[in-house]
Symmetry: C2
Subunit: 391 residues, 2 copies
Amino acid sequence: MKNFEFYSPTRVIFGSNILDNLGETAKRFGTKAMFVYGRSSIKKSGLHEKVLTLLKSSGISVTEYSGVKPNPEVAHAKRGVLKAIKSNIEVVIAVGGGSVIDESKAIAAGACYTGDLWDLYTQKAPVKKALPVIAVQTLPATSSETNLVSVLTNTETNEKFGLRSPLIAPKVSFLDPTLTYTIPLKYTAYASFDIMSHLLEGYFTSTDSFAPVQEGFVEGTVRAVMAGFERIQKDPHDWDGRSAIMWAGALAWNGLCNAGVEGAVIPNHMLEHPLSAVYDIAHGAGLAVIFPAWLKYRKESLTKRILLFGKRILQINEEITGIPENKACDKIIDRFSSWIHASGAPLSLHEAGIDNPNIPELVKQARTLSKLWNIPGYTDTDLEAIYRSAL
Amino acid sequence: MKNFEFYSPTRVIFGSNILDNLGETAKRFGTKAMFVYGRSSIKKSGLHEKVLTLLKSSGISVTEYSGVKPNPEVAHAKRGVLKAIKSNIEVVIAVGGGSVIDESKAIAAGACYTGDLWDLYTQKAPVKKALPVIAVQTLPATSSETNLVSVLTNTETNEKFGLRSPLIAPKVSFLDPTLTYTIPLKYTAYASFDIMSHLLEGYFTSTDSFAPVQEGFVEGTVRAVMAGFERIQKDPHDWDGRSAIMWAGALAWNGLCNAGVEGAVIPNHMLEHPLSAVYDIAHGAGLAVIFPAWLKYRKESLTKRILLFGKRILQINEEITGIPENKACDKIIDRFSSWIHASGAPLSLHEAGIDNPNIPELVKQARTLSKLWNIPGYTDTDLEAIYRSAL
């Protein structure tokens, strides 16, 4: 283990019928709220109306800001910042998935910064102040509801960058699993795979010989997501399955799984971010395509970790005992791919709707991220080969 | 899973040579600090001198308050409160184990309360304000460095009660595993068992049919503590072993393991608190005595959970397959007892130095705690029988 900092200061309120406290909770931070959301889904479900009623009945004036996209765009966030400043907003209420929460964090920080919002994402300027954010999570996947991170896409420069600051962590997050009952199975699969990827990046890239707290956390939580998803496949309204995925989603990327883990890096995110930046596919779908391709490409150097994954997470010990390690790894990756396929997520760029991708552009962006995130060991040839193997 | 709140707002700084930032960190909260510690051990190790130098070189005036006992006493805490008020203290720096941090939290809350400090512990009055606390953990065990809880003993009334408030959570906790290198093996064993008990209380008492995130977390972290302790038995300066136990100690009782777990209660703490309140033994030693006795007494109702514990945590699947469940449970409890014995912790009241205990008094106090903590299902006869079986 190496030195680390861990900080996840969000108060999580988890369960059914918890939203009744939204108004009073928000009021502690201010009476002028910006209510940020995506498109029509929360209107169809009635959540939009409910949130408005709850806030207004607590004496909060509400400025709505909608249209956040699945890969939220800096241009849209900038317009939100202007609106927040103009309306003297005191608290930002994010109602949606990771994208809505990420953009709400951007608006919260941008409203207290006089320069160009994108500066905060390219690390040209630090965040010094931010409005308080309250999150109502409806699509658990990125842990944005409990972490210090916001990721935005710049469509002008085709870049997707993250901002990290304790000041943008939500003050309070409301996690009601019943709000996720209506997520279509396909998107539940993407979200589940997103959560699993966050957990598994450091697990596979760790060079630690002994970090059992972190390993145990990853193994248990990945198994929980898989088991939870399998329950939801049978019954989308399965309370326990939805609860397990929602709670796993809040913890997977809040810093716990990689805290102090030597060597932990996020190559699959390095490879995926360019995909969703350029082709606007769901992040979880992109990860589902990239992860098995990456595992196959890195099989030799990852042998020990892939075997652990097979034994402790997929729990197929009997099938892989007594065969050469190389073959055992193939079997494990195949089994993992089958699980992804059965979940409904894509396994190739073609299945994700991307034919003839602009591989040089993808490689260029992945290269930029490899520098930004300190991910060693990938030549342009490696990057190209992984993208090609995922066609 | 059921509804819950989870809140652990402490910033954790973990690793070696991290204390260099103590002064600057403290200064953000004030320049008049109370430095709270126990007895002579931090003087012998040089940590006392180091902390003083670090604080003073950052321009912080330091008021020392020492003499915190392993089961910290409200009378001592009250004197600390008076001293803090008199010295206009702005920030409390706790340097020690859970006891020192617990008492520092008490002083922080008491300094902002005009009534009797014990009122806050008997729930006669709520905490409305507290001074900021910064913790330097030297004996990981209770998660006091990351949680909202403080436990004090009242020697006048022979009571041991806990106070829970977000306002007393440390703002920052410094966790340096090298500070734990000199903890004698016996006390490392007590601490390890304390950590394991915190994780296992809810695991054994859970009535949840599906809470895999929480179960996985407990299973992985208990295995980590056992493996970490076994490394320390071979080499007390084992960085990875000490790191695993320190990190497990910070997470085990911060609310994660029982978050949302149906039925999770803490009967072993109900049974142990009276022991350490009346006989002033180490909390971890008391738990080591109580836990196997409790498991044996509750074997019939806990069969399913004991089998899980044997399979997933002790990992003795082969030994318990194909034999009657009743016998398998005996084997698992025996194996657990052997591990405790080998660790150096006591397995009976006699081994803990308590002969002819005042069982009616212990039962009376456990009864009080059962009401305070809502632990159903224990008649006085049950309580007495468990204490007697631990003689």
